[in-house]
Symmetry: C2
Subunit: 171 residues, 2 copies
């Protein structure tokens, strides 16, 4: 029996390992994982892994999921302009459900007005955007502030998933 | 404090995720992980991830490690012809230490004469080599026979690591 459903929102040019590590790790832990993107079929990561899309953004009902993962790469910048994507993020925020965002993933938190006054880390290249949006930037492998788990880049993945799983188990 | 040291033996054209998932997963669990290859510097996976080499095959003292991981891709075929690599594998076999091999990884088990009479899975393309070497082939996501944990391909990674970690925790 799956422990619950987790949603990953992403698109082409995702940083492959930032999708694949959480994806397999959550399955290993017994969660059911759905990859959501713009359309059905496959997306292709920066490193050309082809990843099956389980559900389109339009089809997503956030109520069904207990947690959200936002991998990095170029994908977050491409999907932050899609209103349904921001609606999905806001739904998790309103319900205080665990959200894990790594690398450029926090771009979606900025677009969803979720950063102000929160302790956040991210890829160094978007640090100033996090700060400009009112976030309290911390240069650490993982930062946990309430329901938000953020990390900087792939080498942080072990700490990132350790903290996200801890949060999910309490939810 | 690290729980113990785990060795990964690999080379260029490894299937990136079959190295990176076990690598990060073992770190997440508290193990110290060393990537061994032909020479220091970086190797490059099939998907062009650059992975830092911690130690050369020549420098490896297998006695220091409590477990061995053999990722797949084209790397195992390239390193099975190196006598020191086979010596390393045989050392883990003699001491009955946990060995996890995925995809083409079991090619090293064949070269180390470790397959005969053992239940094994592998990438479908080398199934007949496993059988010819006397192995009992099973088409399952993970097969555990004593100290040997084998899997077929990347989608098996969650089961592969779940069983390998179980074995390590008993060691």
């Amino acid at each position: 029996m799956a422990k619950g459903k987790i949603l990953i929102i992403t698109y082409n040019d995702v940083e492959d390992i930032e999708l694949l590590y959480p994806y397999y790790r959550l399955i290993e832990e017994g969660y059911e994982v759905h990859v959501a993107s713009k359309s059905k079929g496959f997306i292709k990561g920066k490193h050309e892994y082809e990843i099956k899309v389980d559900i389109t953004f339009d089809e997503v009902n956030p109520e069904e999921y207990i947690g959200l993962v936002i991998p990095g790469g170029r994908a977050p910048e491409k999907i932050r302009i899609i209103p349904k994507v921001i609606e999905i993020v806001k739904s998790f925020l309103r319900k205080n459900k665990p959200i894990a965002a790594i690398c450029h993933g926090p771009q979606l938190l900025i677009s969803a007005n979720a950063v102000k006054g929160r302790r956040i880390t991210s890829y160094i290249g978007i640090r100033d955007d996090v700060i400009a949006a009112g976030g309290i930037y911390e240069d650490k492998e993982v930062v946990v502030d309430g329901n938000l788990v953020t990390s900087r880049h792939p080498p942080d993945l072990p700490a990132f998933m350790r903290e996200f799983l801890k949060l999910l188990s309490k939810y």
